[in-house]
Point group: C2
Chain length 190, copies 2
């Protein structure tokens, strides 16, 4: 299964594509960022990022798109742009009939490191290790996008379908996801 | 000049199109809402709204799209969906080469009523009066979209270009816009 992860942001939107292989292995297909200059008009920045995400979807043909779930209570100053980029990514995928999934930062951390409260640097190191890369992918937005893709590829539903036993990291993921479902505010209603 | 206004929202996204006529008159071209059910997946709701906005742009061919500027500090529970719909509207316009403008609620209120702190019901009544409608457009999201379009059509830049003297409402608009420029946080950087 091929999954594309999107770490939404206006200045740098992280993009990462991985293939989930048998035996709980993952391989990197591509990673990078869609960057836009702060001085550009907002509508042009959003158009540019939407176009780049669309190109990646057409080029890499993932079966699923994993996007970071954006919470309104965090980073008030940047939430609007982040939410907008997340929305564009979802629409570009939906337009192509690609499954969309949202994962919280805690779920992603738990999935790749086994700890929901892992440090950012630790995520980068684990992404490099899991994908057998010589170096940690940069910028961090690209590493985060790969972590999102890995998180989705390893979600418990997939694991149970494949009949594989859950690893400690997958168990932590499942717990983090359940906790998020219990506690998160309903952010999607308007 | 034809302007389309968008009052962004996931459950009901207000849409309104007006023509600015000589002598500071405005005429309604169309108004309505793009509604999506709360139970639908977020990516499908966003895709549906983006499609509807695109259809309106293609049908009515406005020269400009006016969108309500979304502030992160208001309505925390709904800000994510609202910001996402605003972003989609901007991209649909930018994709068609249509000028995009953002206006704050205070600017819109000042433009149509002469008072930046006007009540919601007062906006609806003024929209009906300015557009010579027998009834206040419903739902309120549609009236708000028309107010946004009128606000943009009547912005001081247009007025000064036309060589017309500013009315009290336009002066209030200008003051509200200046105040918003001075005080608003930089919400677009991520």
């Amino acid at each position: 299964m091929r999954v594309m992860g999107v770490d939404p942001g206006l200045t740098r939107c992280g993009l990462g594509v991985v293939d989930a292989l048998p035996g709980r292995k993952v391989a990197m297909v591509a990673c990078g960022v869609a960057a836009t200059p702060a001085g550009m008009d907002l509508d042009q920045r959003l158009l540019l990022i939407a176009g780049r995400i669309g190109e990646w979807l057409d080029l890499h043909q993932p079966q699923a798109l994993a996007v970071e779930r954006v919470f309104a209570q965090h980073n008030k100053m940047t939430i609007t742009g982040t939410a907008q980029v997340a929305g564009l990514a979802m629409v570009e995928a939906a337009r192509r009939g690609i499954e969309v999934a949202l994962h919280t930062p805690t779920e992603v951390k738990a999935a790749v490191t086994g700890q929901g409260g892992a440090e950012k640097a630790q995520i980068g190191r684990m992404v490099a290790r899991l994908l057998k890369l010589d170096e940690v992918p940069t910028p961090p937005d690209a590493a985060d996008a790969l972590a999102l893709a890995i998180c989705h590829a390893w979600r418990p539903a997939t694991i149970s379908t494949l009949g594989q036993a859950a690893t400690p990291a997958q168990k932590a993921w499942l717990e983090a996801e359940r906790a998020a479902r219990r506690s998160r505010p309903k952010v999607v209603a308007a």
